[in-house]
Structure formats: structure tokens, C-alpha cells
């Protein structure tokens, strides 16, 4: 039990922080309700996938600077393929784009493994390449999205007989949870997942324990690409278009990974923490808007909150270690 608390302490702390922020939000804006929560979840969606993409490579001891560019490329690809096409065609587009993310991610991983160039350099280079490719696909924002895809993140899930509760379960949340769990849970329980943690913790020790280091690293990057493609699709689904210029997802993903208690050295942490961290960061943004804070100050506040939370966490961790 104490072990569980110790291990999940950080995530628990973040959850508490999130709830406190929700209460504060209600105090600022007494009318804040289920609809607004739905908006929050939809805002979280692309960030959450970006963070998932970053988390998995960070756990594997790497970093992926191309997350944002990958999202842009997959987003414009999806939007331009669906432009003028039938509703059914989207049934083909979605798996195609996901596969594209998987392959591009795997290419990242292969470049790192084969050339032995540091990950930060390779993904920096692919950032430029993917960004250029996105502009080649669509020179300006455009394209469109199938209606049924757009509908999957609008509204709430109807639980018969429980209208009260179901109003608080936006479809976007269900989609997010399903997409993350369908990959993360089997991964976590498999030897592949263990291997990803192992190469992140110590590549040498993992190699000596018989882990196929190169293959595991490539798979980690491929899964990261898959999550990034989901993020790109989420962008297209929520905006209805594809935009070739990467949004602020790279820095945000690194920030949330850190805030979520995943050590940047690798080998530690999980997916839940960073996802909760994304919710926290988005809710902070909501509160800053609700409070009508001077827009030039919000960046400072967001930065300060990040230092404060991580510092506080470090402080707690140190105290825990001493006692």
C-alpha cells in the first residue's frame, strides 16, 4: 500500500491539484458546468496525444522533437484526403493516417538506431523535413473532415437512466481514454513494455539482459508516431481542417511529460501522470482567461506554475527520501 502511494504519489498529487483547480474554477465562474468541462476535454485532446507520443519515447530514454511536425503532417494529410471525398472514404483515411504515423515514427527510430546519431539530433532533423512535407501537402490551411468523424468528439455519451452523470462524460473523453488504453494497457503488461522501460533505464544493462535494444527503440518511436498521428487526426477532427504549420505541441508535450513525473533520463514514470498534467495545464489556461489576466502576463504565470509545481514535487520527493 505505502509502496503504491509512493509509486503513484506524484500522479495522486496531480489529481488533487486538478480537483482543486476545478473548485477554484467554480469559484471564479459559478456557472462552470458539464458543457464547459466538455470544452476542456476537447481542448485537451490534441495535447494529450502529443504528450502520449512524447511520453513513450522519453520512457525509452529518448526524446522526440518532431512530435508537433508529425501532427501537422498527419493532420494535413487527413484533411486533404477527406476534402471532397465521401463519408465512407474516411473509414479508409483514418487507418491510413495512423499507419503513416507508425511508419514515420519507425523511420525516426531506424535513423537513430542505424546512424547512431543522438535522438535529439535525428528528430530535430526530421522536424524540419516533416514540416516541409506538411507544407508540400497543403500550402495553406484547408481540406475538410468527414461529418461522422467530427461528431465523435462532440456531445456526451448517453448512459440510459443517468442523465446527470452522462452529461459529465463527453464523447471526446471516451475517445481519448479508449485510444490511450487500447495501446498503453497491453503494452504495459507485455514484455515489450518492460523492454521499453529497460532500455530507458540502462541501455547497456538491457542489452546484457538480452533485450533487443535496437528493435525496442524502433518500436517505441513507431508507437510515438502512432500517437502523434492520433493527435493529428484529433486536430483535424476538432478544427475541421488541416494546418501545415505545427502548433505549440512540442514544448507543451515536454512540459507535460516533466510535470507528469516522467524522468527525462528515461526508465521511469507512466502515461497517466502526463495526461493529468495536460488537464491541469489546460485548466490553468481556462482560469487565466476567466480571470481576464493581461495576456502578456499569462506566459509568465504559466512558466512560474510549472517551476513551482515541479519544485514542490522535488521538495516532497526529497522529504520522502529522508524520512
Amino acid at each position: 500500500m505505502t509502496r503504491l502511494v509512493r509509486r503513484q504519489g506524484w500522479v495522486a498529487g496531480l489529481l488533487v491539484l486538478f480537483v482543486v483547480l476545478l473548485v477554484i474554477t467554480r469559484l471564479i465562474q459559478p456557472g462552470y458546468g458539464s458543457g464547459d468541462f466538455g470544452s476542456l476535454v476537447r481542448a485537451v485532446l490534441p495535447y494529450a496525444f502529443a504528450v502520449a507520443a512524447q511520453t513513450i519515447v522519453v520512457i525509452a530514454g529518448g526524446i522526440d522533437l518532431s512530435v508537433g511536425a508529425m501532427m501537422a503532417l498527419t493532420s494535413v494529410t487527413a484533411a486533404s484526403m477527406m476534402d471532397g471525398a465521401s463519408e465512407e472514404y474516411a473509414l479508409f483515411v483514418v487507418p491510413f493516417v495512423l499507419a503513416m504515423g507508425l511508419v514515420l515514427g519507425a523511420v525516426n527510430g531506424m535513423l537513430i538506431v542505424v546512424t547512431r546519431v543522438p535522438d535529439i539530433v535525428v528528430t530535430l532533423a526530421t522536424l524540419f523535413v516533416l514540416q516541409g512535407a506538411a507544407l508540400l501537402v497543403l500550402g495553406a490551411p484547408g481540406g475538410s473532415v468527414a461529418e461522422w468523424l467530427r461528431a465523435t468528439i462532440v456531445g456526451t455519451v448517453a448512459i440510459p437512466g443517468l442523465p446527470e452523470i452522462s452529461a459529465w462524460i463527453p464523447k471526446a473523453l471516451v475517445l481519448l481514454v479508449v485510444c490511450l488504453c487500447i495501446i498503453w494497457i497491453p503494452l504495459k503488461r507485455s514484455k515489450l513494455g518492460l523492454s521499453i522501460y529497460a532500455i530507458g533505464s540502462s541501455e547497456l544493462a538491457a542489452f546484457r539482459s538480452g533485450v533487443p535494444v535496437a528493435r525496442t527503440r524502433i518500436i517505441a518511436y513507431a508507437l510515438s508516431g502512432l500517437f502523434a498521428a492520433m493527435g493529428g487526426l484529433a486536430l483535424t477532427m476538432s478544427t475541421g481542417i488541416g494546418a501545415p504549420i505545427p502548433g505549440p505541441y512540442l514544448l507543451a508535450s515536454v512540459a507535460a511529460v516533466v510535470l507528469g513525473g516522467v524522468a527525462l533520463g528515461g526508465g521511469k514514470g507512466g502515461l497517466l501522470g502526463p495526461i493529468v498534467a495536460v488537464f491541469v495545464l489546460r485548466l490553468v489556461r481556462t482560469d487565466l482567461t476567466l480571470l481576464a489576466i493581461d495576456p502578456n502576463v499569462t506566459a509568465i504565470i504559466e512558466g512560474a506554475i510549472m517551476v513551482a509545481v515541479v519544485m514542490f514535487g522535488a521538495f516532497i520527493t526529497m522529504r520522502g527520501r529522508q524520512s
Binding site: 475541421g240 505549440p248 489546460r282 482567461t289 481576464a292
Partner: protein, 321 residues
């Protein structure tokens, strides 16, 4: 009858840019001057369409009465604008159009902006020659609208060739770097069209002692000053008033007070001020305003749409500040 009763939300997705800054200041000044606004709720940061969806929805949560939005993309924020209208919020898009039919639009005509300037430039160089085409941000909708206008003018002048096309990202330092890079290649050119990153381009020409060629820019104070003062510089400034933001506030208040405009879309047409002719020179002299920041458009007000004073927009203070 003007008693303060409305809260207005603002959403803007480019920060740290002179034009957008003037737009925000015009919104603040107009809100203050109207006396009908109690509070402005400004979401102003660098982000994409998805980020703007988030900001607009946050403004809906904040229960504002109207939202003035400069869209990151005309189509990308449709769903949030629709939700806003459903929640009884008046939505006014400024600077660029949006596809949401319930929203009101008061906008500069970006296609016309590019067309006017490009046509003047091509005529100025005698209908033939090499021009440098310095665009805005790749993928931005205002940039692609302007590209349409530029291409339309280009089609009318078959002997004009674009020798160099770059995206400045609407960043001064980047634009200067790019023109320096291009000058460094030694390739000849006869004219430069810029998407509003103009005064640093003239600086670069002067610094590198390159012969001055005709330059087209926007009505930024710095560039207008250069057109008046730099020896041998021929050029034109096309108006693109950032004060359109103030007009957006006025329109929103009119609608809130029950005075709906006849058309859903109101276009503000650009003007061109050049220094090649005597009357053009006189016009440029009259509009020059060295007291403004060089990146601010000199057209700090729009007659009939804005009521604030110059001091108010420069102070950049909204109600309650």
C-alpha cells in the same frame, strides 16, 4: 444612453507583431471610448486553430456578451463560433473572414491588398523585370488570400518574373536575414513586394549599398517615414489598418444594442499611397506619424467606425485598467 453593461471577449492568435498589437490596442481604446463595456476578456497568444477553439470556448465559459475574433483560420474555428452564437453571444470576426454563417465579419480585403500593391509595382518597373516576393507566414490564411491577389496581378503582366519567393513569417529579423541572404547571392532584381515586413528591407538595401529598387509595403509608420525621407527610394504603402479591431468592437456593440447591419460582411477596402507622383508624395507626408512605433500602421483610426483619440490608442488601456 451609454451605460457600461457589456463584457467583450477577444481572441487573437499572433502575439508580438506590430499590426496585431495595434489591433488589440484599438479594441481596448474603442471599448473604453464607447463607455458601454465593463470588462474586456482578452485571449492573446501565439497558437493554432485548435488553440483558438480552446480560447473561444473559454470565453463562452466566461459568459461574455460578444466575441471579437481574428481567426487563425476561416474554417478551423467554425464549431466554436457556432457554439458561441447558440449561447447567445454576438460574434464578430475582424481582419479575415470566417465560414461560420452566423458570425459578422468586418475585414480588410486581403486579396485586394496584394493586388493593388503588386499591380503598382509591376507598372512601376515598366511591366517587365525580376521581382522579389516576400510573403507572410506559410500556411496562414491571410497569406494565401494575398497570394491570390498577387498572382492575379502577376497574370496581367506576363513579362514580370518572380526571381525569389520566401516566407518572412511576418518576423522582422527573419525578413531582414532573408533579404541579406538574397542580396549576398548577387542576383539582379528590379523590385520587391513585401507582405508588410517592409522597413527592415529598406534598411538592408541601404546598409548593403545595393541600388534602391521600388519597394511595396504596408502603411507601417516606419516604412511611411522611409518613403518620405530615404533619398532615391521609390515605393508604395498599401493600407491595412490594425484599427479594424476597434471597428469590430463598434460593430459588436451596435448588434448588442439591436442595430444589425444590412450585410453580414463589411469589407474595408485598402488604399495605396505611393511617392512616385507629387500628389502621392503629399498624401504620404500628410499621413506620416513619426510618433508611432515603426511597426504600427499609421491608419490608427477608421472614420465612422472608431471614436477613440490617438492618445487613447497609444495608451492602450481598456476599461478598468
Amino acid at each position: 444612453s451609454a451605460e457600461a453593461k457589456y463584457t467583450i471577449g477577444v481572441s487573437n492568435t499572433v502575439q508580438g507583431n506590430g499590426w496585431r498589437e495595434e489591433m488589440i490596442c484599438a479594441i481596448k481604446a474603442q471599448a473604453l471610448a464607447s463607455g458601454e463595456v465593463t470588462k474586456l476578456n482578452i485571449a492573446h497568444r501565439n497558437t493554432d486553430a485548435a488553440g483558438q477553439l480552446e480560447d473561444i470556448r473559454n470565453l463562452i465559459s466566461a459568459k461574455v456578451n460578444a466575441i471579437v475574433v481574428n481567426p487563425a483560420d476561416p474554417a478551423g474555428i467554425k464549431s466554436a463560433l457556432e457554439e458561441a452564437t447558440k449561447a447567445g453571444i454576438v460574434v464578430v470576426a475582424v481582419d479575415q473572414a470566417v465560414t461560420e454563417p452566423s458570425a459578422y465579419i468586418i475585414s480588410n480585403n486581403q486579396e485586394q491588398y496584394a493586388y493593388l500593391g503588386a499591380k503598382w509595382l509591376f507598372q512601376q518597373i515598366g511591366g517587365k523585370g525580376d521581382v522579389v516576393y516576400m510573403r507572410g507566414a506559410a500556411g496562414a490564411s491571410a497569406d494565401s488570400d494575398r497570394d491570390k491577389g498577387f498572382k492575379k496581378a502577376l497574370a496581367e503582366f506576363p513579362d514580370v518574373k518572380v526571381v525569389h519567393e520566401v516566407f518572412t513569417g511576418w518576423q522582422q529579423d527573419q525578413g531582414k536575414q532573408q533579404i541579406l541572404d538574397f542580396i549576398a547571392t548577387g542576383s539582379p532584381f528590379n523590385g520587391i513586394w513585401t507582405s508588410g515586413i517592409d522597413n527592415v528591407i529598406v534598411d538592408a538595401l541601404v546598409e548593403s549599398q545595393t541600388p534602391l529598387v521600388p519597394v511595396v509595403g504596408a502603411d507601417n509608420a516606419g516604412f511611411v517615414g522611409q518613403l518620405n525621407s530615404v533619398e532615391g527610394l521609390v515605393g508604395a504603402a498599401v493600407t491595412n489598418p490594425g484599427s479594424i479591431g476597434g471597428a469590430g468592437v463598434t460593430l459588436a456593440l451596435q448588434i448588442l444594442n439591436g442595430k444589425k447591419p444590412a450585410e453580414q460582411t463589411v469589407l474595408v477596402e485598402p488604399q495605396l499611397w505611393e511617392n512616385a507622383t507629387e500628389e502621392g508624395k503629399a498624401k504620404l507626408k500628410s499621413v506620416a506619424d513619426p510618433s508611432l512605433s515603426p511597426e504600427w500602421p499609421v491608419s490608427i483610426s477608421i472614420p465612422e467606425w472608431t471614436t477613440y483619440t490617438k492618445d487613447q490608442i497609444i495608451a492602450c488601456k481598456g476599461p478598468g485598467e
